[in-house]
């Protein structure tokens, strides 16, 4: 009896465990529905469907995943609709919550064990699987906060946060404009640009490279966020001081990465450029900068999150009455925690989009690099 193992030697998820998850989920549904009066028939029916999925499991993973996923979604929907009735929240309720989570997990397991050669399907699966996971985290969050009556001050439910998000778009937009569109973007552009220019300037001096690089590496590891109070003193309360913090934070990673990237071209390639009688600038723009692009994008990606952190931290040291960091610190003080979470959601969304945009540009510009091609 051999364990299933893939060719690369990476352990494949054993089917026995998979079956156990499914059976436990279906069993949990059945038990939960027996405990929850009035739900017996539908619950048992769903348990039956889950078991049916178990039968087709080995034949079509997609079918099984769709069946199991559908059942868990219906269960979750019915659970959310009844979570506010105190008499419904009982042992049977929590049984069904756990069962639905297990079924959803079985669905994710099924989907991720699908191996397809089509790159389109692969990328669709690559989006669907994490999204399913995230949606289920939200569902669990909603059920737990409402089912356990968690006070809103402690942890608001996703629906409350969503409601607040919809109701205060104007405030959120003003904060977003102040923090992201002004401080983060300007600081990011200037910081990364300056890091790049300085790196090209010191590129011609090996002495400066040897002297500046260790210091640049050291500075990137230091808590530069701490300069925020100084920048606020120098540049005032408005966004320029935040942009200054962002510039300082993003400068050194860009400098270090650019210098490393400019050294990445092979001696053979340099020799080729020399046989073409290429000037310094020609070989810089046609060989070394393209060769440095993976390093540049690495710095740009690191900096995209650093910039957000820098701008928001700087707002804790004084700010006009607008901005994401300002809103977060004041609304926490006023116990409007749902507003804080709305602000966090905006920040997370903006940060992810920013990061995603740079990752997309990276794919476009470094299409030739092995890490993108494979």
């Amino acid at each position: 009896m051999s364990r299933p193992q893939s060719l690369t030697g990476k352990p494949v998820f054993p089917y026995r465990v998979m079956e156990r998850i499914l059976l436990t989920g279906a069993g949990g549904l059945a038990v939960g529905s027996l405990l929850l009066q009035g739900q017996i028939l539908s619950g048992l029916g769903m348990a039956l469907v889950s078991l049916l999925a178990f039968r087709v499991l080995t034949r079509s993973r997609l079918m099984a995943a769709l069946l199991v996923g559908g059942v868990s979604t219906v269960v979750a929907w019915s659970l959310i609709s009844q979570v506010d009735q105190p008499e419904m929240v009982s042992a049977g309720f929590w049984c069904q919550v756990v069962a639905a989570w297990l079924l959803a997990w079985a669905c994710v397991e099924q989907l991720s064990s699908i191996h397809t050669l089509s790159s389109l399907y692969r990328s669709i699966l690559g989006v669907i699987i994490p999204v399913l996971f995230g949606v289920w985290l939200l569902i669990l969050w909603e059920l737990l906060t409402r089912g356990l009556d968690v006070p809103q001050v402690l942890l608001p439910s996703p629906s409350q946060i969503g409601e607040r998000l919809m109701n205060s778009t104007s405030i959120l937009w003003a904060d977003f404009k102040q923090t992201f569109l002004k401080a983060v973007l300007i600081g990011y552009a200037v910081g990364c640009g300056a890091g790049f220019v300085v790196a090209v300037l010191i590129d011609r001096s090996p002495f400066l490279q040897r002297g500046l690089l260790p210091i640049g590496n050291l500075v990137s590891a230091l808590p530069i966020v701490g300069v925020a109070p100084i920048m606020v003193m120098w540049f005032g309360f408005d966004w320029p001081s935040k942009a200054a913090v962002v510039i300082i934070m993003t400068f050194f990673p860009m400098l270090v990465n650019t210098v490393a990237g400019l050294a990445a071209a092979q001696p053979m390639q340099h020799d080729l450029m020399k046989t073409y009688a290429a000037s310094y600038w020609q070989s810089l723009f046609k060989l070394r900068i393209p060769e440095a692009l993976p390093f540049l994008f690495n710095a740009l990606k690191i900096n995209s999150t650093l910039a957000m952190i820098g701008a928001i931290v700087a707002e804790f040291f004084g700010t006009p009455t607008v901005g994401m960091g300002f809103r977060i610190s004041t609304e926490v003080g006023r116990m409007n925690v749902d507003m804080v979470w709305a602000e966090i959601a905006v920040a997370a969304l903006a940060g992810s989009m920013f990061y995603g945009l740079i990752a997309l540009l990276e794919r476009m510009f470094t299409f030739w690099h092995p890490s993108v091609r494979s």
């Binding site: 990476k10 997990w105 002297g211 500046l212 003193m233 120098w234 928001i312 610190s329 804080v340």
Partner: protein
């Protein structure tokens, strides 16, 4: 290795000296405006040289001169009792303890997540994208939340700050460990299979040892940002102790020398931690025979 350190030493020293010189020039030029206004109010016209000399000893300079920061650090580290509230050692100790606790928790969490991700394809596909997305959330957005929430359930002091350090430091460890645990050559994995090794044996005898160099590289990044996390976590709580609290208090009362000395101490602390982890990693690599000498 020795010769490389030798060739780097001279340029690094020169650049460091140049930075200190620039700092003095910056301090003089930035602080000159204040001296001019003092002289203007007093109705005197001191010589340029004496004004520049005065810029080096202002009580609340725009940019303190390096020797002012150094004397403040010496004053607050060696001449105060360690338990005194005015001692920087006391504040650094508080920040260090919460960042070390957070670093330890973050490293552990990162390793556990990496093991789970490597051994379960579904987690790899569903959890890894969210781990990456979690880092695009500015931690500061969550810091006040975590502290308020934990405060409400009665958790105060070290732990909330450590959680923020953990949140920042688990990410590089998790990503590095996933890479490290997947790094053994497939021929080694085949060899383990011919030995009929169980998956536990493969893990402890092959995957874990091969991942250690990756782990230490990640830990160097993680230890530096866990310190940032601890400092930053002290800001929104209105903490009264710790390097972050020193920064905040300094900014409230315009004590620039205090801010700069806290910053320099934080930097020294971060650099020391990174070097220590680097040594530990070198030692482990040597013991495993990965590096000769």
């Amino acid at each position: 290795m020795g010769s490389r350190v030798g060739t780097a030493l001279f340029p690094v020293t020169v650049v460091t000296l140049a930075i200190i010189l620039l700092w003095y020039v910056g301090a003089a030029s930035l602080n000159l405006a204040w001296e001019k206004s003092v002289a203007g109010r007093a109705g005197t016209t001191p010589s340029f040289i004496s004004m520049v000399q005065n810029t080096m000893h202002q009580e609340r300079p725009v940019l303190p001169a390096p020797h002012q920061v150094v004397s403040e650090i010496i004053d607050t580290t060696f001449k105060k009792k360690i338990t005194s509230k005015r001692s920087l050692v006391y504040h650094a100790g508080i920040t260090l303890s919460s960042s070390m606790l957070g670093f330890a928790m973050g490293t552990l969490l990162g390793i556990l997540l990496a093991v789970a991700i490597v051994y379960n394809e579904a987690l790899n596909k569903s959890l890894l994208p969210w781990i990456i997305a979690s880092q695009t959330i500015p931690i500061l957005a969550i810091a006040p939340m975590i502290i308020v929430v934990l405060n409400a359930v009665g958790v105060q002091g070290l732990l909330p700050k450590a959680f923020i350090s953990m949140y920042l430091s688990f990410f590089p460890v998790a990503v590095g460990m996933v890479k490290g645990l997947n790094s053994p050559d497939s021929s080694y994995l085949d060899l383990m299979r011919t030995y009929n090794a169980s998956s536990l044996q493969t893990f402890f005898k092959l995957r874990l040892p091969t991942s250690l160099p990756y782990l230490f590289t990640s830990m160097k990044i993680a230890v530096a940002i866990s310190l940032v996390g601890a400092i930053v976590a002290e800001l929104p709580t209105g903490a009264v102790a710790g390097l972050g609290a020193r920064l905040l208090a300094g900014s409230y009362y315009g004590q620039t020398v205090q801010i700069w000395s806290a910053l320099v101490v934080a930097s020294i602390l971060a650099a020391t931690l990174v070097v220590l982890i680097g040594w530990l990693g070198d030692w482990v690599n040597r013991r495993m025979g990965l590096v000769r000498g």
